[in-house]
């Protein structure tokens, strides 16, 4: 059965984002990506956090788990480990993932579970009315801040790479096609994939706006805006680690790109490494039949309900007579 993006819509839910919010673009890109990958709704689990971004999970027709603020990755891990055959995507806000959730972010990198994580990078805590998020730069004052931001921004691509994510990309909520393609690549990537999705928040972030990304404040002589975003893939940038020997150099190239901001902002894949074993690979090396009979698929009992487990090996250890 071939599904269309519209098959992933949830008509009974009103998507209550502000008019012009980038979250709509992300929703569309997810629906398109799922359709193009030939996934069915029940095969996918979208695990979201708390924030405007957290509502994505209700607006896509697939299993949706709208979790706690900052906890998408642990929930997603539990789901994926229990049933590695599910396509698991964690999605959340920048505050969610890099503020309260930063500890999970860093430690997720250590496991390299084969799943995807998308951050809605809007520079603000949207749903709590516009406080500075961890991606907002020092000294910047968006409209709802009483004072200019007092903290430095987190470099999310850099953090992902240092933490061990094996795929790190950036895309843009208003370039739905690019975002959709990036999501597809992330899902197809064997390992933990991170997408930093630039997402204008027209309500609270009056600094990195759609117009700003489009470069409408800097028109060339002919009056044409000079977009700030450019695509890495169009510059010949090769993010793929083909051999461990080139890993460090690829990482450094990615970090170099990751610091570009302001007049030229790269989107696309910064880093990709499929040589690192996934957590599923590692579990399989402990439990050879893990992928065939993962935790969610074991039988536990016979038809009468009696537990079928045999504890005699354990008991032997403890016997005194």
């Amino acid at each position: 059965m071939v599904l269309k993006p519209s098959d992933f819509r949830v008509p009974e839910v009103y998507a209550d984002w502000c008019p012009g919010c980038g979250d709509f673009g992300i929703m569309n890109a997810l629906q398109m990506a799922f359709a193009e990958l030939g996934l069915e709704p029940h095969q996918i689990v979208l695990v979201s956090g708390i924030g405007c971004s957290g509502k994505e999970a209700h607006n896509v027709k697939c299993y949706g788990v709208h979790t706690l603020h900052g906890r998408t990755l642990p929930f997603a891990m539990g789901i994926k480990v229990a049933n590695p055959n599910l396509e698991v995507l964690a999605i959340g806000g920048d505050g969610d993932g890099l503020g309260i959730g930063a500890g999970h972010f860093v430690n997720a990198g250590r496991r390299n579970l084969d799943m995807t994580y998308i951050i809605h990078n809007n520079g603000v805590y949207g749903l709590t009315k516009g406080q500075a998020s961890p991606t907002l730069r020092l000294g910047v004052q968006t409209k709802s801040l009483p004072k200019p931001n007092i903290n430095e921004a987190i470099n999310s691509i850099g953090l992902a790479i240092i933490s061990g994510f094996t795929f790190a990309a950036r895309s843009y909520a208003y370039d739905v096609r690019h975002l959709k393609d990036t999501i597809k690549q992330a899902i197809q990537h064997k390992g933990l994939a991170f997408i930093d999705c630039l997402q204008p928040c027209p309500t609270y972030n009056n600094v990195t706006t759609k117009e700003w990304y489009a470069g409408e404040d800097r028109k060339d002589a002919s009056g044409k805006p000079q977009p700030r975003l450019y695509k890495l893939e169009e510059t010949g940038f090769d993010p793929v680690v083909h051999d461990w020997a080139e890993d460090f150099q690829k990482k450094m190239a990615a970090l170099d790109k990751a610091r570009e901001w302001g007049d030229r902002i790269p989107i696309g894949v910064f880093y990709k490494n499929e040589l690192e074993p996934t957590f599923q690979d590692r579990l399989t090396s402990r439990i050879p039949f893990y992928m065939q009979r993962p935790p969610a698929k074991q039988k536990l009992c016979d038809e009468n309900g009696f537990s079928t487990v045999d504890l005699s090996e354990f008991m032997k250890e403890l016997k005194t007579s």
Binding site: P74, N83, P295, L300, S307, F314
Partner: protein, 641 residues
């Protein structure tokens, strides 16, 4: 009824072999058909601070510790200083000759507040500054002292084994102590030998060295010591028995109960359980198939609880295991699980608190926290085991409860149970049934509209696990409608609150009586004890003693602490003259719950909060004081070093 028993204690610095000694000793007793109850006490420290193991041994079942020590195997001077007062008259102390000259106030590991205590004791009792003075003081109470020249013995053993460097074999001092102990008890040395061999089963050479040392010490003691009154005698048994800790019982119970994902972050005294599971990850079914449990060490307890919820939603029976500090970090996740009706199991070992507290010591101070943890009102079940066998079966049962009633279940335990060990007839678990509750599969759903949180008579909505075809649905920590989508509608809100909460009534209706309460002793007597958790063993023994002494007394052990079986408890307490609440905490938490739920207030409280579990001896004494109307309303117990 309390049981005649022999009490052996080994004490010494952490890392000096106390645990191994106790293990070998316990096994040897087990091989001789004896029952053993073991209590382990240790500092939150890896090496150097004082630890001890108290073994109570009898030909009949023993359920708890007592105050007496009949033979104290002291690995160092501190052990004598801390425990000599526990040694019974006619009891004995084994001590290295090289330690006898130690000046007790100069023992470096004693903290100032303890030094102040012993200085006071020395002054009041005219005891001198050396260990020898202490030993002499004990001798006045007819305690026998058995000084052992360990270094000389080791030198001779070394010579026999061809080992020149004694430092290589000093760790065998513990086995020497065992040899001396068994010689004093006149116990069958063959059983001790077997225990040593089995303990070092994987290292044949070490095993032989230790057997040699054991025998050498045994012979030495036979030759040099006599007059010790206590005896250990083997008996013949024709049943299979096991000797295990609460941690081990819980781990096995989880396997039985179908737990297939366990998440954890290391913490005392819970981590041993997870490590046991990880080490034994792959198991067989009775059909010879392989199954496995995935154990994930997470980055913190927040990840642990939420990953377990995730796994549970995906259809695996999933649990996490922790103690107070970790549970504190889990409560936001617990609240999510409550709101989303997740069959999540949390194994909660209480320890000395608040905060980091006494990380390796006992306490029962977290009951009301477990009851109310997490913001908002939602249904949960709290089941508290009272002994190691209950730990096992309850660890399996909680998964049935979680899935049948679709709510988080807290299996509430404590440090005493986690680390104590006890002999039992082998567990007969073949009748254990897995009950997954209302669980729909792909084919049940075909062509139907599925609503995860459908309103039903009982409040239970048939469940579908993530990934099931035809069953797409949503979860959210927000209040939600039947589909699982966010809803702020007031009517829907009211109905959802009621849906979730009324499941508790069902739990109270369906859970069998023995999982709510257990009754011991004379339930018609005018006196009754109420308690929960690990004090159980000591209470059963104490009321046994009291009844032999002619007092009428019964005991209710509350197992289901939430939802609280108010009717049954009220029924048991109504009309009693003395209601005595026994707990290892300061605020008498169960007592408060009983008062709130039944309107009946206990009139006596026996409480302990020193970080050590209650003993049969002190519970017996406190109850007797109460039954003879000599007690205050609050009796505070303090026994134990």
């Amino acid at each position: 009824m309390a049981v005649d028993s022999v009490n052996w204690m080994a004490g010494g610095a952490q890392g000096s072999g106390v645990d191994t000694a106790a293990n070998i000793f316990g096994r040897a007793c087990g091989y001789g058909g004896l029952y053993v109850f073991g209590r382990r006490e240790y500092h939150s420290n890896i090496k150097g601070l004082h630890s001890y193991f108290h073994l109570r041994i009898s030909s009949r079942e023993v359920l708890a510790n007592v105050n007496d020590v009949d033979l104290l195997a002291a690995f160092d001077a501190e052990t004598v200083v801390r425990h000599i007062k526990e040694v019974s008259p006619e009891g004995g102390v084994i001590i290295g000759t090289h330690q006898i000259g130690t000046k007790v106030l100069e023992i470096p590991t004693l903290p100032p507040e303890f030094k102040a205590e012993i200085a006071k004791f020395m002054k009041e009792n005219g005891v001198g500054e050396t260990l020898n003075d202490w030993l002499n003081h004990a001798r006045q109470r007819r305690v026998q002292v058995f000084p052992v020249p360990y270094m000389d013995l080791l030198a001779e053993i070394g010579k026999k084994l061809g080992i020149a460097q004694i430092s290589k074999i000093t760790r065998m001092i513990n086995v020497l102590t065992i040899g001396v102990s068994f010689a004093l008890f006149q116990y069958d040395r063959a059983l001790a030998e077997k225990a040593v061999r089995d303990t070092f089963a994987e290292k044949a050479k070490i095993a032989e060295m230790n057997v040699a040392a054991l025998n050498y010490a045994y012979d030495y003691a036979k030759e040099h010591f006599d007059g010790f009154k206590h005896r250990l005698e083997k008996t013949v048994v024709n049943e299979e028995r096991i000797f295990l800790t609460g941690n081990q019982a819980v781990a096995m119970g989880k396997v039985l109960g179908g737990c297939r994902v366990q998440t954890y972050y290391p913490i005392t005294p819970a981590a041993d359980e997870s490590e046991f599971l990880e080490a034994n990850q792959i198991m067989k079914t009775i059909n010879g198939e392989d199954e496995a449990i995935v154990v994930i060490q997470t980055e913190d307890e927040i990840a642990a609880v939420n990953a377990a919820s995730g796994a549970a939603l995906a259809g695996a029976r999933a649990a996490t295991s922790t103690s107070g500090p970790g549970f504190s970090l889990m409560v936001e996740g617990l609240s999510w699980a409550g709101n989303n009706e997740v069959p999540l199991v949390i194994t909660y070992y209480q320890r000395g608190a608040p905060s980091t507290g006494l990380p390796t010591r006992h306490g029962q101070g977290d009951l009301r926290f477990a009851m109310y943890a997490g913001h908002g009102e939602f249904a949960r079940i709290i089941l508290a085991s009272g002994d190691i066998q209950e730990c096992f079966y309850d660890a399996a049962k909680v998964f049935n409860l979680a899935e049948k009633y679709q709510m988080p279940v807290i299996h509430l335990l404590d440090k005493a149970m986690a680390n104590c060990s006890q002999t039992y007839p082998i567990f007969d678990y073949g009748k254990f049934k897995i009950e997954r509750g209302e669980l729909l599969k792909e084919k049940d759903l075909e062509g139907k509209e599925y609503r995860r949180f459908r309103f039903t008579e009982t409040g239970i909505s048939p469940r579908v696990v993530l990934g099931t075809k035809n069953g797409v649905h949503w979860y959210t920590g927000d209040e939600h409608n039947e589909f699982g989508h966010i809803s702020e509608e007031p009517l829907n809100r009211r109905l959802m609150v009621e849906k979730r909460m009324k499941k508790l009534e069902l739990v109270l209706k369906e859970v069998p009586l023995e999982d709510k309460l257990k009754f011991y002793g004379d339930m018609n007597a005018e006196n009754i004890v109420a308690s929960w958790g690990s004090p159980k063993g000591a209470i059963i023994e104490a009321i046994g003693m009291l009844r032999q002494e002619g007092f009428g007394i019964g005991f209710i052990q509350v197992r289901l602490l939430h939802p609280f079986p108010a009717a049954e408890v009220k029924n048991a307490l109504t009309g009693k003259r003395r209601i005595i609440d026994v707990e290892d905490n300061y605020t008498a938490q169960l007592g408060g719950i009983i008062k709130e739920a039944t309107g009946i207030a206990p009139n006596y409280y026996v409480l302990k909060y020193t970080g050590r579990p209650v003993t049969t001896t002190e519970v017996h004494k406190a109850l007797k004081t109460i039954l003879t109307d000599k007690a205050r309303e609050r009796e505070v117990l303090t026994f134990g070093a």
